[in-house]
């Protein structure tokens, strides 16, 4: 799309063009409605202007069919907007299963990012073009929001929970990263850039980063050091369940509830294990609240995830 005057930022993700189509539809419908209202107000104001103080127009009380028409037509258009917007929202919120995973920890006033290779970046995110990228995000302090205008995606980054956002960049280049949730004094300086690279350039960039440890490897070491490995034996014969293959699967709790063992559950369980104990096991795990940083939590979860992926790879 090219306009003489830019109305939207560059389209640099697979979703951007779809969002712009929807925005253009909304602009079109709004322009038609606003235009006809303005035209009628101005037309009536001129045509029926008061010509004499004695004028007493005949009353028109109302018209039921007109009322029905101007209720039903806007309602129909509104439903189209709703359905189109909801469909797109689902796409924006459904990361593909094969997406490259990046961890983001936000704090006043910086973005701390960790690549799958373990490389760390501050206020910069390097990604390869044409590959879906999923960000798992949390905050160390207040609420922030991750916004890349050129990708048309945005998601709040909330302390105490994980949120995710994904995109697939379509053009190499540099794009804005803005924090859009007011987070204190230097909110306006909590900005960064997304660097989209060709796969070759990205590969070279990752190799150039040196032998960083991947989050899963760092997580494995933490798993040993924090004492998790003493109870969560891989064969399930310890006092706590085996974590091999658990990630992404349903587990049954002592309350008979079934929950999916995703990032949010694992995080909550590590911090406050007493709240949701797995059925068949004693509630003996100590809480790790205050003992692990957000970065370390992300690493342990990455390790538990890698156990599931290993098992799947073996099965195949």
């Amino acid at each position: 799309m090219s306009l003489g005057f830019p109305l939207f930022p560059e389209q640099a993700s697979t979703i951007a063009g779809q969002v712009d189509m929807l925005l253009l539809f909304l602009i079109g419908v709004s322009a038609i409605f606003a235009g006809s209202i303005f035209l009628m107000v101005i037309l009536f104001a001129i045509k029926y202007r008061r010509r004499s103080e004695k004028e007493r127009p005949r009353p028109i009380l109302g018209n039921l069919s007109l009322e029905i028409i101007w209720t039903v037509i806007p309602l129909g258009l509104a439903l189209i907007m709703f359905a189109w917007g909801a469909w797109l929202y689902f796409a924006i919120n459904s990361p593909p299963a094969d997406a490259m995973e990046v961890f983001v920890v936000a704090k006043q006033w910086m973005w701390k990012i960790q690549q799958p290779s373990g490389m760390r970046e501050i206020n910069e995110l390097h990604v390869p073009v044409d590959r879906p990228v999923k960000l798992t995000m949390t905050s160390e302090d207040t609420i922030h929001s991750f916004f890349v205008p050129e990708f048309r995606v945005k998601k709040d980054v909330v302390p105490g929970r994980y949120t995710t956002v994904w995109f697939q960049a379509t053009k190499p280049g540099e794009y804005h990263l803005f924090c859009t949730q007011y987070c204190g004094t230097n909110h306006a300086n909590m900005i960064g850039r997304i660097v989209v690279m060709t796969p070759e350039a990205y590969g070279a960039w990752v190799r150039g980063g040196g032998a960083a440890e991947s989050p899963a490897v760092a997580g494995a070491r933490l798993f040993q050091r924090s004492g998790c490995a003493g109870c969560h034996l891989p064969d399930g014969k310890g006092p706590a369940p085996s974590l091999v293959g658990v990630f992404g699967k349903p587990v049954t709790l002592t309350t008979k509830q079934t929950v999916i063992a995703d990032e949010a559950y694992l995080r909550e369980h590590i911090l406050t294990p007493g709240s949701k104990v797995v059925a068949g096991y004693p509630p003996i795990m100590p809480p790790f609240k205050g003992l692990l940083s957000e970065d370390q939590l992300v690493q342990i979860i990455a390790y538990i995830k890698s156990l599931a992926a290993e098992q799947k790879a073996k099965a195949e």
Partner: protein, 538 residues
């Protein structure tokens, strides 16, 4: 009627001019004037904050003020304008003055409670002004946790208490109006004969009474959490920051309707009078006010589409948000249809009403962008949102308020203001407003986030346009302030009904006597009976 009384009749203004008589008055008209003075003061304070914000944004680098100061400026601008100007403006000033007169009553149902409401409002306002002079507050008017409860180092508790206190003024005023409208209507003033201004205030009062306690509780929890670390919103203590957003918007979205519904009521009166016609589809316009009041309570989640709220909750809130747009559209169509085959005069109040229709239509339509899930993700928390709600609150609520002030000024003061100046001011405001806020829609599309003290240089041109518009807007506000004050001394006497308007308030002298009417009026006709009577036709 009572025109024979002339200009020097005894009225609510000249009956006693001592300060004590004003501070202890229970006359709804005098209380309205007290509110007018206080609200104007808060408006001026809020405008100064806005002016500094726009001045700072002339350059991308934050050359005027520091980041901390900037954050305090937009916070204090929002708090002053929303809680201390827009919410009380039309209901407490025009509603107080007019509702009893429009229904043929001598006063509101609880006159002393009415005076108490004003003092409560002033007390709350004082807290907030004290917080401002002690160094201000920097949480944004939205007070999002855990920033407000843990990380902000400013006067959060004092400000929150100020808003908490002022909320009671709102609740009591709403209660007073509901009882007044139910119990004090003159003989013959059936519900189906009520002016649409009164219907709009009835709907508004319901929101005030039902919604305000929720913001009061929420802000109290913020203050308690900040002081005592209760762990309600702070995840580090086991709380949930999203819970704060649910509670906050449960009030603060309906609060938008507290601001806009009374303005819609004003516009209905203006369009009818200056078209000399009954409002087209009276029942639909009245019912749509109630529909907005009810549906308005069910859409708060549309402020949280990118907060991590469930996708399905997002869908429900999106659908409901579209539904609440329909009654507003119905009103706009009916106002436009009222002008059809009318006898339209271009007096200043009508210019404001037509300006309202234009700006509110743009504000409403851009609201649809924000209700549309996939579109909101991009424009959420950008300048698009700022532009949208200023079209509603300034283009809508403020235009309605000024239109109403111009319409009923002769009734309130007994004086006429200069016509040419008033029309010019209306046009200047319209132009200035659009130049200020239309570029902000484009800034939002381009991705400029709100609440940014500095910004990437590519956004500068549009920001300079916006700041230039704000200057014109400022001039547009100053002119009426001058000529309305001038008119108090030099304006020619207005007479009871300078516009040839229908409605009981126009059947009594200007300014009205303390008891409003010499004897209780008896209502025998519908509202807006501008049509020629059979005798005149015959």
């Amino acid at each position: 009627m009572s025109t024979a009384l002339g200009d020097r009749h005894e009225n609510y203004l000249n009956v006693d001019s001592s300060v004590k008589s004003w501070l202890l008055t229970t006359d709804h008209k005098r209380i309205a004037i007290l509110y007018l003075l206080a609200a104007t003061l808060f408006f001026l304070v809020g405008s100064v904050f806005a002016g500094l914000i726009r001045l700072n944004l002339m350059t991308p680098y934050g050359d005027l003020v520091q980041a901390e100061t900037y954050n305090k400026l937009f916070t204090m601008h929002g708090i002053t304008m929303i809680f201390f100007f827009l919410i009380p403006s039309i209901p407490a000033v025009l509603g107080n003055f007019l509702i009893p007169m429009m229904i043929g009553a001598k006063d509101v149902a609880f006159p002393r409670l009415n005076l108490l409401s004003w003092y409560v409002y002033i007390l709350g306002g004082t807290f907030t002004l004290v917080a401002a002079t002690l160094g201000g507050v920097d949480t944004g008017w939205t007070f999002y946790a855990p920033y407000s409860t843990v990380y902000a180092n400013t006067n959060v508790i004092v400000t929150a208490l100020g808003i908490f206190i002022t909320g009671f003024s709102s609740i009591l005023t709403g209660l007073n109006f509901i009882v007044t409208i139910h119990k004090l209507r003159a003989p013959g003033m059936k519900w189906s004969r009520l002016p649409l201004f009164v219907w709009a205030h009835y709907a508004t009062s319901l929101i005030m009474v039902l919604g305000t306690p929720v913001i009061a509780i929420t802000l109290l929890l913020v203050a308690l959490e900040r002081g005592l670390h209760l762990g309600i919103f702070d995840p580090a203590l086991g709380g949930d920051p999203i819970l704060f957003q649910d509670l906050f918007w449960f009030y603060s979205h309906p609060a938008v309707y507290i601001m806009i519904l009374p303005s819609m009521g004003v516009v209905s009166e203006l369009i009818a009078c200056f078209s000399r016609k009954r409002i087209f589809g009276y029942e639909f316009v009245a019912a749509s006010s109630l529909a907005i009041a009810i549906l308005g309570f069910l859409v708060w989640g549309h402020h949280m589409f990118v907060s991590g709220q469930s996708v399905y909750a997002g869908m429900v809130f999106s659908l409901l948000s579209f539904l609440v747009a329909i009654p507003s559209a119905i009103k706009v169509f009916n106002w436009t249809a009222t002008m059809y085959k009318g006898s339209i005069a271009y007096d200043a109040p009508m210019l404001y009403a037509m300006g309202f229709i234009g700006l509110f239509t743009i504000g409403g339509l851009t609201g649809l962008f924000l209700a549309t899930l996939g579109a909101d993700v991009h424009v959420h928390d950008t300048y698009f949102v700022i532009a949208h709600f200023h079209y509603i609150m300034v283009g809508g609520a403020m235009m309605g308020y000024l239109g109403g002030i111009h319409f009923w000024w002769p009734k309130m003061s007994g004086r006429l203001y200069p016509e040419a100046w008033s029309r010019a001011a209306g046009l200047i405001l319209f132009v200035g407003f659009n130049l200020t806020f239309f570029p902000q829609f484009i800034l939002g599309f381009l991705g400029m986030p709100r609440r940014y003290h500095v910004y990437p240089p590519e956004f500068q041109v549009l920001n300079v346009m916006s700041s230039a518009g704000a200057t014109i807007l400022g001039v547009g506000y100053l002119i009426p302030l001058i000529y309305l004050l001038w008119s108090l001394r030099y304006g020619p006497p207005a007479g009871p009904n300078p516009w040839g308007a229908k409605g009981l308030e126009w059947e009594t002298p200007s300014p009205p006597p303390t008891q409003n009417f010499e004897k209780t009026p008896i209502v025998t006709e519908e509202a807006y009976a501008y049509a020629p009577t059979e005798a005149e036709v015959g």
